[in-house]
């Protein structure tokens, strides 16, 4: 039964792992957040975004960036446990 279970489920576990990694990458995409930070700054400098909107957005992006960097650091050091 073990061999059968292994053959039936291993490919799915592999796919779930890959999907999980992709989801984490997308959710905690440091480059995308950096781009968003630069865009926020640019639109503020060009007068399209008010100071209030700019500061509000900046705070949110910086918090997300901090979390994303932490997740990547833990990912890199193998400290993130995938629970199923």
């Amino acid at each position: 039964m073990f061999v059968l279970d292994d053959l039936l489920f291993r490919p799915f576990v592999g796919i779930i792992d890959a999907l999980h990694s992709l989801a984490l990458e997308e959710l905690y995409d440091v480059d995308a957040l950096e781009d968003e930070r630069k865009e926020n700054q640019l639109l503020y400098e060009l007068g399209e975004r008010s100071e209030e909107e700019y500061l509000e957005r900046k705070e949110v992006i910086e918090e997300e960036l901090e979390i994303a960097r932490e997740v990547h650091e833990q990912f890199g050091s193998g400290r993130v446990e995938v629970k199923r």
């Binding site: 950096e34 781009d35 630069k38 865009e39 640019l42 639109l43 060009l46 399209e48």
Partner: protein
């Protein structure tokens, strides 16, 4: 903590520089540490790994601009934010080791400034990026000694370039940008910045082991 570390803004050719200013990490004086005819423009700092805050990044830029205007105008090979060294001795070793590279960079940027141009689509505007890029190239390309395309960090950025321009061509370049703004102002927001020390056109690598 000791303030014996040196934070470097850039490298100048001969002649000491010294002035009081609002410098990186709370320092209030900028001066040169020289080796033969090269001088590193520095301020004192208590770390070799400064944190890049918005305020200090701006101070770094502002100091570079002050140096460009110092004593009738000086050419400076700019360093990116964050270059700090343990002591005058390590810094002089770097100046000695990288002297040929600094000399080449100095020759490339002598009498030139960096100008930046970003073109951003107005909200909901529809433009042909290729047409705009070609028009900008026709207008500004001949006036620039070198051009660098920068990061496309937003879908709304149609163009993001830095230009190395002879100081003598500055007025003509300004006119060219004004014509671009006149032509495309209904569809595009224009951000024209500078002059900066030519960061984008200097490629001097200093190894971490030299710190």
């Amino acid at each position: 903590m000791s303030n014996s570390n040196r934070y470097v803004y850039g490298i100048v050719d001969s002649g000491d520089i010294e002035f009081e200013t609002d410098a990186v990490a709370g320092a209030d004086r900028v001066y040169t540490v020289s080796h033969r005819r090269l001088g590193a423009v520095v301020s004192n700092i208590d770390t070799t790994d400064p944190e890049e805050t918005d305020e200090d990044a701006k101070r770094h830029d502002d100091v570079l601009r002050e140096i460009m205007d110092y004593d009738g105008g000086r050419t400076i090979v700019p360093m990116q934010f964050g270059m700090a060294f343990e002591s005058d001795r390590t810094l002089k070793n770097v100046l000695r080791g990288a002297r040929p590279a600094f000399r080449r960079a100095m020759n490339d940027i002598e009498g030139r400034i960096e100008l930046g141009l970003k073109l951003v689509t107005q909200e909901d505007a529809s433009v042909d990026p290729e047409e705009i890029e070609a028009a900008v190239e026709d207008e500004l390309g001949p006036l620039a000694a070198q051009t660098v395309t920068n990061d496309q960090f937003s879908d709304r950025l149609v163009l993001n370039k830095s230009y190395l321009v002879d100081e003598d061509d500055r007025a003509a370049f300004d006119d060219g940008v004004a014509r671009i703004e006149d032509t495309y102002g209904d569809d595009l927001l224009v951000q024209y910045t500078g002059p900066f020390a030519p960061y984008s056109f200097v490629d001097v690598e200093i190894g971490a082991q030299s710190r």
